[in-house]
């Protein structure tokens, strides 16, 4: 049988997930240097593309959100098609894709959150940061979530960049937020917010904090919030000191310096206080009679070195109670299994080797199935980290094609795939639809001096398109 990848018979690839990884993979496939002619169809369960760039990246970080313009360039390729509002596992099955594509690439990201595993975690008022982030960014699934912003004290567990995003959004003034593309419902709710104190809780010390330097620096410049750090908590313990002396890692040295600088600051009496704590772990959330969280019990940690010298936290016997009415756990995202696709429970990713999906029994690659991005390696790294990651997977895909190891679909024509999708999801969204929605969002924002005003309901988007 002739090998696909020619103008007469292009290699047809289905990409599931239109986040950064989906675009980077599509780009690598369409611009491949082996001269293989490829057609990609990109599916997303949301009507809108860009994944976490739209639904995760903070609204007050417009500069990074602008990466979408490069993604649009990829989408302008005539051999790129987008089908929004099409969910793998629901609207389309693995069997459907196998019947229409030579290769299938899963780039579905990490759709849920990790849990802390402590009592009281599910009390009212305790939420995963993932939900709050999706809500303020206007993700349609989270449109009607409610967060009790009448509380005066909130805690964010974890000190990664997502935790910083959440704390920063809680500490911004309505004026600061109104200049962003934060979802309207969130802007309204945050305008009325009575949150005065926001705690960021790190379980290890300042030298092990997961946030990056520009992010920790940024909170020092908030318009109406003081950053408060305890000097004794950012003083390095002997183990951290020794590790840092040896590594001389510049980013970490700088991070510690920034935090120690905050410890020297005198609070300026601003309306809000962002308090960054280290070496504490929540052990329990306590509730009132109505099941609402009212306090958090913290244990003080000390650090110990593992066999490789990595420093990890260990609980002491010192406890403290922190009264809080709102808790966001920001301890990491986690991938969810896709129906019919092998999953590696240990790491919360699709079972894979360099992006080739593996059969759980034979440990051999499954013909025609691949993965990239957060669902391949786990929820870490910035937008661009997904580029080399996608490139690695695409290299495997092209190598396998060269070996003739691809699916042999019964209907390998673009028209057949489209007919199936339209039959299953009559309301699916094309890239042209998205570009139109984008224009409308931007023009709705203009009179208010905002980058855009987002549509946050699927029905709203359909109506805006006159459907």
């Amino acid at each position: 049988m002739a090998r696909p990848g020619t103008a007469a018979e292009p290699l047809r690839v289905a990409i599931v997930g239109a986040g950064p990884t989906g675009y980077y993979a599509a780009e690598a496939l369409l611009k491949n240097e082996r001269g293989v002619v490829v057609e990609v169809d990109v599916f997303d369960r949301l009507p809108t593309p860009y994944g976490l760039v739209r639904a995760g990246v903070a609204p007050d970080h417009q500069k990074i959100k602008a990466v979408t313009a490069s993604f649009d360039k990829v989408a302008a390729n005539p051999r790129f098609r987008f089908f929004g509002g099409v969910e793998f596992g629901k609207d389309l099955t693995l069997g459907d894709l196998r019947a229409h594509y030579h290769q299938i690439l899963y780039c579905t990201g990490a759709q849920t959150d990790r849990r802390m595993g402590i009592p009281g975690e599910d009390l009212q008022g305790s939420h995963p940061a993932t939900e709050f982030v999706a809500w303020y960014n206007g993700h349609p699934d989270y449109r009607d979530y409610v967060f009790d912003l009448a509380q005066e004290r909130a805690a964010v567990v974890g000190v990664g960049n997502v935790a910083i995003d959440v704390a920063r959004i809680l500490c911004r003034t309505p004026e600061e937020l109104a200049a962003t593309d934060i979802a309207d419902h969130a802007l309204e709710a945050l305008r009325k917010s009575r949150v005065k104190e926001v705690y960021l809780l790190g379980r290890r010390g300042p030298a092990q904090a997961a946030f990056t330097n520009p992010e920790i620096k940024e909170i020092g410049g908030l318009a109406d919030a003081d950053v408060i750090v305890r000097a004794e908590e950012v003083e390095l313990d002997p183990l951290s000191r020794a590790t840092l002396d040896k590594s001389q890692d510049r980013a970490t040295l700088k991070k510690v310096e920034i935090l120690q600088g905050y410890a020297l600051r005198k609070p300026a009496g601003r309306s809000r206080r962002l308090i960054v704590r280290f070496l504490v772990s929540p052990v329990e959330l306590t509730g009132d009679a109505a099941g609402r969280v009212v306090a958090m019990l913290l244990v003080r940690n000390e650090l110990y070195a593992t066999a490789t010298g990595a420093l990890q936290p260990r609980a002491t016997t010192q406890f403290e109670a922190l009264p809080v009415g709102l808790v966001f756990r920001s301890v990491g995202y986690r991938g969810v299994p896709l129906p019919g696709v092998p999953f590696n429970e240990s790491w919360g990713v699709i079972l894979n080797e360099k992006g080739r999906v593996l059969d759980p029994c034979t440990k051999q690659p499954v013909v025609g199935e691949y993965t990239a991005g957060w669902i391949k390696r786990g929820p870490s790294g910035v937008i661009g980290t997904n580029k080399p990651d996608a490139a690695e997977t695409v290299a495997c895909m092209l190598e396998d094609l060269a070996q003739g190891t691809v699916l042999r679909p019964a209907h390998a024509e673009a028209a057949a795939a489209e007919a199936l999708v339209r039959q299953r999801t009559p309301h699916c969204f094309s890239y042209a639809d998205w570009l139109r929605l984008n224009e409308l969002e931007v023009s709705r924002g203009r009179p208010q001096g905002r980058p855009r005003v987002k549509f946050t309901r699927v029905e709203e988007m359909l109506a805006a398109l006159g459907r």
Binding site: K63, D249, I383, G384, T385, D389
Partner: protein, 146 residues
Amino acid sequence: MDIAGILATKGDKTHTVRPEQTIREALALLARHNVGALIVVEGGERPVGVLSERDIVREAARNEHLFGETVGDVMTRDVITGAPHDDLLTVAHTMTERRIRHLPVVDKGRLVGIVSVGDILKAQRDQYQGELDTLQTQFLSDERGR
């Protein structure tokens, strides 16, 4: 980033050998799996040593009867093991400092994977490359319409 991120894209197979197996058998395994080292495990999953190409070469240089020796006699004992949540930077330092090429990763007493110096270097390079690629993607976006 922690080393679990490396294991995530390495499937879930770790190539192991038992201490009572012969070097001849171990060599066959190294060749078949195209790897530089095997983790020596006892009782199913408890790592007790590492058998690397280097261990075998060192033994070969002084022992004519190498092939029939047992893995347990030739392997490196007292291996350092990693934990999934150990961070990349520290592990990289420790591996280079102590000249360890293969690090078994153990979680709750169970062998869950192995990372090599090559894996660590690649992960560090990808992390750095990712930052550059973010900037480049931003830069290409700025060129909009120009």
